[in-house]
């Protein structure tokens, strides 16, 4: 039985971070795993940073990933991955969507967005490994830009570290979406799964 496995999902309001954690939670329960997590909703969401936490295992009590104990940091957006990099365990892995979401403060000239190379350099120095993919592009390929989160979910399973079975999460995705949308989402999942295996 898994003792403790911590995943931090970092993205921007509207990217579907919460849906990812819902799917992970349901799949974990279906596989008989113990699961805890939390998220920030409300004021913090309107276009701001969004994080959701999923923790699996018998030794897990709290709703937050202890700083220095995150096994996988899912960055749905480069700067948001970097924002939470200090949560990583030394051997922790980053799975990164390389497409940025530029905040309006950059257009207003109030802040700068880092170059992807800078983000990757920092993340590589901090993390045990960085797997990068253009999930936003893959989502379009799958049939809808709204499936970026599902591509990332596929990538999370593609690294084959999770205690949840890939077949279980796919069944969960299948059940969550209408028959019309399920195939697009399964395609998105598969594209992410393959991309993570390749990088």
């Amino acid at each position: 039985m898994m003792k403790e496995f911590n995943i931090l999902l970092a993205g921007v309001g509207g990217q579907g971070v919460i849906l990812m954690s819902e799917l992970l939670g349901r799949a974990a329960i279906a596989d008989g795993l113990r699961i805890r997590g939390s998220e920030i909703l409300g004021m913090a969401v309107r276009g701001g940073s969004v994080t959701s936490i999923i923790r699996i295992g018998d030794d897990v009590h709290g709703p937050l990933v202890p700083q220095g104990k995150c096994h996988i940091l899912m960055g749905l957006e480069p700067s948001e991955a970097l924002r939470h990099a200090s949560y990583l365990a030394e051997s922790g892995l980053v799975i990164l969507n390389t497409t940025p979401v530029i905040p309006f403060t950059v257009s207003l000239g109030q802040s700068d967005y880092p170059a992807l190379s800078q983000v990757l350099e920092k993340l590589s120095a901090i993390a045990g490994g960085v797997i990068k993919l253009d999930a936003s592009k893959a989502a379009v390929e799958a049939g809808s830009p709204l499936t970026t989160n599902i591509v990332m979910l596929g990538a999370l399973f593609g690294v084959e570290l999770l205690p949840i079975k890939t077949s279980t999460i796919k069944e969960t995705i299948q059940a969550r979406f209408s028959p019309g949308l399920a195939p697009i989402n399964i395609r998105a999942f598969d594209l992410g799964y393959e991309a993570a295996g390749k990088d």
């Binding site: 329960i29 997590g37 939390s38 309107r46 276009g47 009590h61 709703p63 207003l108 800078q118």
Partner: protein, 635 residues
């Protein structure tokens, strides 16, 4: 397989639930029949979830106009012998404070539970006050869960406890419980549905001074009995270790951080832990047993030193030779975490940190300069953005006439529109409490020579905007009151309210209009503006500001999030705008600087509209001096 929900009759099965859904489930298991709330993060999903299953489970569920009314609804039902609940955020408890203090004198006939959801770190709030002090003041017993599962179990038990002791109970949640997630094991569903019965008992129910004096000793006696029982309630648990020199008293969610910290440090056998699930009244026998067995005690709790003060009092009273730590080493500000608790325990046990926290702090400092600021912002297409542009235009025009240096004053309020605090709107000068914008404006009007434009949303108007509006009429405050009406309680999740024509459970309802209310209250200048017609809206607001005496403008435009969802569902095409590079002056930036719409981006001196984000509201086209922003034509 049928998917599990919070209403499933499936004892023993596991559901992946949001903390607030777990709280709702607990109430369902207890057979709650009446639930009322005003939405407020992090509490909103409790009654939201109950509303969704009300019909199926034969419950009455409502969104009330404010927390005071919501609590009174629950109290009224409890007086009639029915199990009732009210849920609100911590600052909502302030609004309900008045009936709450007398409700504790009345006691409970039907089980009565108040869920108070505190927000450490004030993620979505104007402060991070600790609701346990309200309970202290009112002799209200408090249950505080350590996990999502326990939140469900406690609520399920709270109704029975409330009836057993004849007292109102409070469940203190926090953001990380309410918006925590976890697997919960479902319990049995109570199918009991009672008929309300009212017995005339003025000596218990009608609070004239004599009745207050009559009932206070009864309330104290009820509380004494609960205090006696606290040691035996399952939520309090003493885990003693023979050779422990350190004892930890961990309250509510702090217990989960403590468990992880103790294991992380490898001191499981060196510390005794008292888990507290009832911070008020505390299990004093268990506390004394722990205090007498150790040299040092650490109290771990979120926000204020509530348990700590009681523990220090009992140490003094009994003269126990034990040093009590708490907020001297555990922060009183913000949320706790496994790290914070680990650091506190490591300091007392002399253990090394399990990871190099200083290195993590250095990493954070290293990456900080690279990170763009990403504050929450009004959605693309939000009608408030248009309203604020109109307010800014009108107010600045008039302010000049008051004097060269005169700036308009914008008392703001609680809702999505609080986001107009930042540039480019800069239109929230104060934000204190629900309805506070109109209230503060009343005071400013009598001491300031400047245009005062107070604004609040439609739901906030019905919540607590009307009394200060009447006050402005009665006391002749020369202010402009703008109701930013997007027909939704948008920030908390689009709950219906008295202006939306719908109830919590989807029934048709009246649709009150703020302008009709304002007219009925005697406001002489009342007009409705469409903020998407920027020029006309600004002119209306300007006339309101110039009007001598209180004036109301209802600036009515749809919530973009709702409009977009409805258009998508209807298969309606969303036609975005684009910037014609031929016409656009690259040096201008008016669209960005005046509106700050996330759909307008600028990279390498080139402005463009992010088509997937654009809702086609056309506001930017109205502010562009070069007519360079146009609707995308089909084909």
């Amino acid at each position: 397989m049928k998917e599990l929900t919070i209403s499933s009759d499936a004892p023993g099965q596991k559901l992946f639930a949001l903390g607030n859904e777990a709280i709702a489930r607990g109430a369902i298991e207890a057979g709650v029949q009446v639930a009322a709330a005003y939405p407020g993060t992090p509490s909103s999903e409790i009654v939201g979830a109950l509303a969704g299953v009300a019909r199926e489970l034969d419950m009455y569920v409502e969104w009330s106009t404010n927390e005071k009314v919501a609590f009174e609804v629950a109290l009224g039902a409890s007086i009639c012998g029915v199990r009732a609940m009210s849920a609100m955020k911590h600052v909502g408890v302030n609004v309900a404070h008045d009936p709450l203090m007398t409700a504790s004198h009345i006691g409970a006939k039907g089980g009565l539970v108040l869920v108070a959801a505190d927000d450490p770190w004030a993620w979505s709030s104007q402060n991070e006050q600790d609701s346990r002090y309200v309970a202290l003041q009112g002799y209200i017993p408090v249950l505080e869960p350590s996990s999502v599962q326990e939140a469900k179990d406690m609520v399920a038990d709270a109704f029975a406890l409330s009836e057993e002791f004849g007292q109102l109970f409070m469940l203190r949640s926090v953001t990380r419980i309410s918006h925590g997630r976890g697997d919960i094991v479902l319990g049995e569903l109570s199918r009991e549905r009672r008929n309300g019965s009212f017995q005339k008992e003025p000596d218990r129910l009608a609070y004239v001074p004599r009745v207050a004096r009559l009932n206070k000793p009864l309330m104290l006696e009820r509380f004494r009995r609960i205090a006696e029982a606290a040691d035996t309630l399952p939520y309090n648990r003493l885990e003693m270790r023979d050779k422990a020199g350190l004892g930890i008293i961990a309250c509510g969610l702090s217990y989960s951080y403590t468990m992880e910290a103790v294991r992380w440090l490898g001191v499981e056998d060196e510390v005794s832990i008292l888990k507290i699930g009832t911070p008020h009244p505390l299990p004093m026998k268990l506390i004394l047993e722990l205090l007498k067995s150790v040299r040092e005690v650490l109290v771990v709790e979120e926000l204020d030193p509530f348990v700590e003060l009681h523990v220090k009092a009992v140490v003094g009273e009994h003269g126990i030779p034990v040093k009590v730590h708490g907020k001297d080493i555990v922060p009183a500000i913000g949320e706790l975490s496994t790290r914070k608790v680990t650091e506190a325990i490591a300091g007392l046990t002399g253990k090394r940190f399990p990871v190099d926290f200083a290195r993590l702090d250095r990493l954070e400092q290293e990456v900080a300069p690279l990170l763009p600021s990403r504050p929450p912002t009004l959605c693309p297409g939000c009608s408030h953005r248009a309203s604020f542009r109109a307010i800014n235009m009108a107010a600045q025009r008039v302010a000049k006439e008051y004097g060269e240096d005169v700036e308009p004053i914008y008392p703001g309020d609680i809702g999505c529109y609080t986001l107009a605090l930042t540039p480019p709107q800069n239109a929230v000068d104060t934000c204190v409490c629900m309805g506070g914008s109109f209230g503060l404006a009343n005071g400013m009007a009598h001491v300031m020579h400047a245009p005062i434009i107070a604004h609040l949303g439609d739901s906030t108007f019905f919540h607590s905007g009307i009394p200060p509006l009447i006050n402005a009429v009665y006391n002749k405050a020369n202010i402009t009151m703008v109701v930013l009406d997007n027909s939704a309680t948008a920030m908390t999740g689009f709950q219906p309210h008295p202006g939306t024509g719908q109830t919590a459970t989807g029934d048709e309802a009246v649709s009150l209009k703020a302008e009709e209310v304002a007219r009925a209250c005697g406001v002489a200048f009342v007009e409705v503006a469409d903020p998407r017609d920027l020029k006309a809206a600004a002119e209306t607001i300007e006339r309101a500001i110039r009007f001598p005496g209180p004036a109301v403008v209802v600036s009515r435009g749809p919530c973009a999030a709702i409009e977009l969802r409805e258009k998508r569902q209807a298969g309606e095409k969303i036609v975005p705008y684009y910037i014609d590079r031929e016409k656009c002056n690259p040096k201008c930036d008016a669209c960005i600087k005046l509106l700050g719409c996330p759909a307008i981006v600028k990279q390498q001196e080139r402005k463009a509209i992010d088509a997937p984000l654009c809702t086609g509201c056309g506001l930017c086209a109205q502010v562009c001096p070069y007519k360079a922003i146009v609707e995308e034509r089909s084909g």
